[in-house]
Amino acid sequence: MSAYFLCLVLFAIGLYCVVRKRNIIKIIIGIMISEYAINLLFILFAYRKNGRAPLFSEGLEIKNMVDPLPQAVVSTAIVIGLAITVLTVAIALRIYEKYGTFDITRIRRLKG
């Protein structure tokens, strides 16, 4: 139980970072932390005590494996997180070229 709660705490830290900070790079870091927390939560659901990795080996009888379904889903989610990070960093670079600053309050005031 405490493992799930720590995951939520990690997600809340990322959320606080997105809401509160003023630097765009800090906001991107907050998005990354939240995404790591959610992937971890999925894998925590899939763990069986004394389980083994979901791979067959030669000639060995495997009785209890961990759940392979969330692992396939999270493997996709990790690559999606990469695409999110890359795209937001590209947009942040463009903003820096146009406005000369990363501060979001100043970006709202300079228009055009």
Partner: protein
Amino acid sequence: MFLMIICAVLAVEIKDLFSSVIAVGAVGLCLCVIFLILKAPDLAITQLVVEVLCLMILIRATIRRDLPFSTSGRWFFNTFITIIFVAMFLSLGSFCLKELPSFGHPIMKVSKFYLDQGAKISGATNLVSSIMLDFRVYDTFGEATILFTAVLAVMTVMRRRARKDVNEPEPKDDQ
């Protein structure tokens, strides 16, 4: 787990951009180790490699662009509201956590089919690969599309040339 939370708090609070990017790298590395402890080797490899790539791109973006952190007014009020919001979120979340199965004993109704029949039907010994590429290959197709779209979008965002040479010839249907 505690190490990850400490690193995350450090990443959020440090004013220097470069150090906070390194702290995010530490968070990702701890996440990879936790994936290994939870017996998911596929994910550990993918997470490690993707983490390194994210770090490289972030460092490229922030290497010479430090910004002095300036606080305007209403700082205390903002932080207070945010902390109240986060506390509400955590308390409501912990209500939901009581409904979940306890840690270590998952309910495997859907996965029973994959565990028993997966290797026979698809013929692959790596069950995660067989789920991702044989039973549920639509999702993988969607992910390939996402990567393609991301590359196109990055190329569009970073365009340099203005499209002047397209607009130059006059339209000829003014008759």
